[in-house]
């Protein structure tokens, strides 16, 4: 794209430049990094010395800029590389940040903002109050459209293989919206209760808070919302979707199958699940012991699925996929898991009393009689299934439970906490032993073990090696083998992998037969519930597209933003409150006596305390509250940014200034003493769109009686590296004095100054007027401020004009008249570092006296405070100078490029 001029920044300097160039007929592109044009001026209360309302005089200019026929404005966009094009012009790369809101649809109603669950400091109110992750910058924003601040995907959400918005439901719980939290999980899976109990919670491993005092109990928060939901009387019925006439058969009712069935049924598909076992739920029902996941919870989750019309046929083993097709199913999903136990292949494995952990756990969970009372039980295996089997045996009254694993304690694949809990329940570990043979006379009586010297080969493959000479024999009455699981897929007649898992495309999950898809452990081999849920979700998405005749493109399922950088998240705060993490809700006893749950549900208070620890890593939590609230359907969290490349003849830099960080003068206590504020904060307090209801102290909400100003904070101060006068602080402080005396007639205002710089038409009169109204001016630099117990502040200064000496004065609010600083980002706009700055890091002007606005680069100009401190009238004048120079440059380059055309073609003239 080609423009005559690029204006970077849309404060008064930038707007003025763009409007003037546009009026001259040039095509102008304005790029502003904030969501609204207007810069700092729109945030001010009134302007000196006329006391005109800043927003009343800014808003017409803002609207004119946006609507000017020759001006194009990109808000929420950043210029990140300007390079000369070799012909006297420039090429600029611009990043349009995603707003996640369709601007054409957004009506500016703020419903999203009202609903949003994430509160962050409002930079447009100088951090005096909160705003939301979904926000409209300020009431007079132009364009008045919402944007959503997203730093990326939160690490917890990013870690969830199922794609559950973990941060989202944490934020919903924090806001007290438990049903909405439950519904958010339902968007991904119906297994809210099961995951809340039995998920291995990879989210918690990635939680940024883990780098402070410990991760959030994210899984237990999910359990909390599930328990609330299921425990509630009169649950709201989930509406049944309109049938779309197509039918899908799902084979297997584990997490993958249930998730796919739920998601497909919600889209109107007629779904029937075929389950080989006597009860639905897959490993949730058959594998995971009741002390971790009670059957009632599985029942509750499954009831959600059947409530929208999904049928489940149990005791039905599908052997012939083609028959399902013949029966009228348009697509089939195979989600049969891994239910075949891997054998040890050692002598004695077929003796009575030896059985697989899978069969054992299923029998117990289905309520079949299993008698281990008083018996010596040996469990073989070091994974989570072995732990489940051992702990289940313990609960059945086994006399002793020993667990032999090839791995050392550290190498054991079982989760650490699970091993800890097993130990706490009195289970004995025998690490580093493999089974040589099992002995007995029809019934198992002993196990001969041999020492394992290595479990994996150099390439990391499972290839145990033994010290055959080192043996030990254990006496036992029962052996439970948890040596692994494999898929049972021969009957389907579809291509398989070496380990019998089904061959399916990793992205689409389609098998060799196009109408047959496969998901879950039957594809991946044994994993965990949440991975299988993710597979079920992917399968549902792909089956839907397949049945609609659409392309199966994996990138369409979800192209999440990158996960936020945790170090960057932690840098957002200077200090962190250490909050005691919730103690694990486990009631461990050795030996446990029954199958009661070991973990308790959280209380509401615990859930609040836990969710309040969340750092809102991605800023937006993806809780979807805004999506639900927006009446225009304008919110699209899948929106992505775009790069814009432009060629221009001239560049006008109007990037403005930054404010001196008041805490860089620690002797004034800003950031430590709550009633010490900055000049910008006072301007906000005095503005019609102020953050508080009146001018009150941020420390306790009290209306102040005695207010002090400390002038030259961060200006004319070699200690902070800024010898320059900021030119505006004297005048804005005097403006405040007048406004305060109007708003709080009883308040005393005192200004501690070095000297007052009131240079400009009517400025000195304005100063005199403030004095006449009663403002006191005391000459002398303030040396330090201390805080009293009641929040009042004591200023120490040398009284150089009165009686002399060091004087202390008490105030209840102190305003630091902070000065201005160069915007550090401006030099980086030029990738090659060619833009020259002046000695104080403002944009350098080649000749400040004779040629204002011209930088060292031909065709690059500077307007407003980007080149040094200026007030509004001077910024406007300076922009005029820069524009005149830019116009001359554009004309010269046009003439050079096409002398004949430039002379012949009149320019479009727009009159205001």
């Amino acid at each position: 794209m080609k423009y005559d001029a690029l204006v970077v920044g849309s404060g008064i300097g930038g707007m003025e430049s763009a409007l003037k160039l546009g009026d001259m007929g040039y095509r102008v592109l304005v790029v502003e990094k904030e969501p609204s044009v207007g810069g700092k001026m729109i945030l001010l209360s009134k302007v000196f010395p006329t006391l005109d309302c800043a927003s009343c005089i800014s808003t017409p200019k803002m609207a004119a800029t946006i609507h000017h026929p020759n001006v194009t404005v990109l808000t929420y966009a950043e210029v990140h590389g300007i390079r000369g094009d070799g012909n006297g012009g420039y090429h600029a790369s611009i990043r349009q940040k995603p707003k996640y809101v369709d601007e054409a649809a957004c009506t500016g109603c703020r419903q999203c903002e009202m609903a949003c669950t994430v509160a962050v400091p409002d930079e447009f109110n100088a951090d005096l109050v909160s705003r939301r992750a979904a926000f409209i910058a300020f009431p007079q924003a132009v364009p008045k459209k919402a944007v959503i601040e997203r730093a990326g995907v939160s690490p917890c959400t990013g870690a969830c293989p199922a794609g559950i918005k973990a941060h989202g439901y944490v934020a919903r719980v924090r806001a007290g919206q438990y049903e909405e939290a439950f519904d958010l999980v339902l968007e991904t899976t119906p297994l809210v209760g099961s995951l809340g109990r039995a998920c291995y919670a990879p989210c918690e491993e990635q939680c940024t808070r883990g780098q402070l005092e410990g991760p959030l109990p994210i899984r237990r928060l999910k359990r909390f919302i599930a328990d609330r939901h299921y425990g509630r009387a009169g649950r709201t019925a989930i509406p049944r979707p309109q049938p779309n006439g197509k039918r899908v058969a799902v084979v297997g009712s584990g997490p993958a199958g249930l998730t796919a069935a739920w998601l497909l049924a919600r889209q109107g598909y007629g779904v029937k699940i075929f389950e080989a076992a006597a009860q639905p739920g897959g490993m949730l029902r058959l594998g995971i012991p009741a002390y971790r996941l009670p059957n009632e919870v599985v029942d509750d989750d499954i009831a959600t699925v059947t409530a929208i019309g999904v049928e489940i046929a149990v005791n039905t083993r599908v052997q012939d996929v083609a028959r399902l097709k013949a029966e009228g199913f348009d697509a089939v999903l195979l989600a049969t898991g891994t239910h075949r136990a891997v054998r040890l292949r050692v002598p004695g494995e077929d003796l009575d009393g030896v059985r697989s952990a899978l069969a054992f756990l299923a029998d117990v969970k289905l309520g079949h009689a299993v008698n281990l009372a008083g018996k010596r039980v040996l469990v073989i295996g070091g994974g989570n299934v072995a732990m489940d089997a051992a702990r289940t045996a313990r609960r059945l009254g086994a006399g002793s439970v020993e667990l032999a694993s090839l791995e050392t304690r550290e190498q054991m694949p079982a989760h650490d906490w699970e091993v800890e809990e097993a130990l706490a329940e009195g289970i004995t570990l025998r690490n580093g032993w493999g089974v040589h043979r099992l002995g007995g006379d029809g019934r198992v009586r002993s196990a001969e073990l041999k020492a394992c010297t290595a479990v994996f080969d150099a390439a990391g493959r499972f290839a145990p090696r033994y010290d055959e000479g080192k043996r030990t024999t254990l006496a036992c009455d029962a052996v439970i083998v948890a040596a692994g699981m494999s898929a049972d897929t021969e009957a389907f007649g579809l291509p398989t992998n070496g380990n019998r898992t089904l061959k399916a495309d990793a992205g689409t999950l389609q098998t060799a037969a196009p109408y047959v898809f496969a998901a879950g452990d039957v594809v991946t081999g044994p994993t965990m519930i949440t991975t299988a849920v993710g597979q079920g979700r992917r399968a549902a998405f792909m089956i839907d597209r397949f049945l609609q005749g659409l392309a199966l493109d994996p990138s369409l399922l979800e192209a999440p933003l990158p996960v936020v950088d945790q170090a960057a998240v932690l840098r957002r705060q200077r200090v962190y409150d250490r909050r005691v993490p919730l103690a694990p809700g486990h009631a461990m006893s050795a030996p446990p006596t029954g199958f009661a749950e070991t973990e308790t549900t959280m209380t509401e208070e615990e859930a609040h305390l836990a969710s309040a620890r969340c750092l809102d890593c991605g800023v937006c939590s993806e809780c979807h509250a805004c999506v639900d609230a927006c009446p225009a359907g304008a919110i699209h969290l899948d929106m992505r940014g775009r790069d814009v490349e432009v060629d221009v003849n001239a560049v006008v830099l109007a990037t403005g200034f930054t404010l001196f960080p008041a805490d860089a003068k620690p002797e004034y206590g800003y950031g430590r003493f709550r009633n010490v504020i900055t000049g910008m904060q006072m301007d906000r307090l005095l503005a019609p769109t102020r953050p508080f209801n009146a001018v009150v102290r941020p420390g306790d909400g009290k209306v102040p009686d005695r207010i002090a100003y400390v002038m030259c904070t961060g200006s004319r101060d070699a200690q902070v590296g800024n010898p320059l006068c900021s030119r505006i602080c004297c005048m804005y402080s005097i403006k405040h004095n007048q406004l305060i005396m109007g708003a709080l007639p009883l308040a005393d205002v005192t200004v501690h100054y070095m000297d007052i710089r009131a240079v400009g038409k009517g400025y000195d009169e304005f100063y005199q007027q403030a004095k006449d109204m009663g403002a006191r001016f005391i000459k002398g630099r303030v040396a330090g401020i201390t805080e009293k117990k009641d929040g009042n502040l004591v200023l120490r200064y040398e009284d150089i004009e009165g009686d002399g000496g060091i004087v202390e004065a008490e105030y209840d609010l102190v305003v630091l008249a902070v000065g201005v600083q160069p915007n550090p980002g401006v030099a980086r706009l030029f990738a090659d570092g060619s833009l020259a700055l002046d000695d104080y890091a403002w944009v350098g002007e080649a000749d400040e006296d004779l040629d204002p606005g011209r930088t060292n680069l031909p065709g690059v100009f500077v307007a407003g405070t980007a080149s040094g401190a200026k007030d509004i009238p001077d910024s406007i004048l300076h922009a005029g100078a820069a524009v005149a120079q830019a116009a001359a440059h554009i004309e010269r380059s046009r003439a050079a490029a096409a002398p004949a055309r430039a002379a012949a073609e009149p320019r479009v003239q727009v009159t205001a």
Binding site: V120, S130, A171, R672, R674, D700
Partner: protein
Amino acid sequence: MSPAIRDTREIIRDEQVMRAPILEALAAGPRTIPEIAQALGKPTHEVVFWVMGLRKYGWVSEIKEVGDDGYFRYQAVPRQS
């Protein structure tokens, strides 16, 4: 008055959890910031952030006249839900 000031970002984040207790504290009638702070057992400057945030988003409003003690009183805004 300001022992170990917490980071502004952290205080503001807490607005979501503090909404219910603050509205509860206002159930019996309007209160000043120090009164709310006392009811919650929280520092007054933190309560200012929360009450002003809740005010901005329509949960509480101020009684127009300031009290003799120099404090405004804030009340819960009735909402349909």
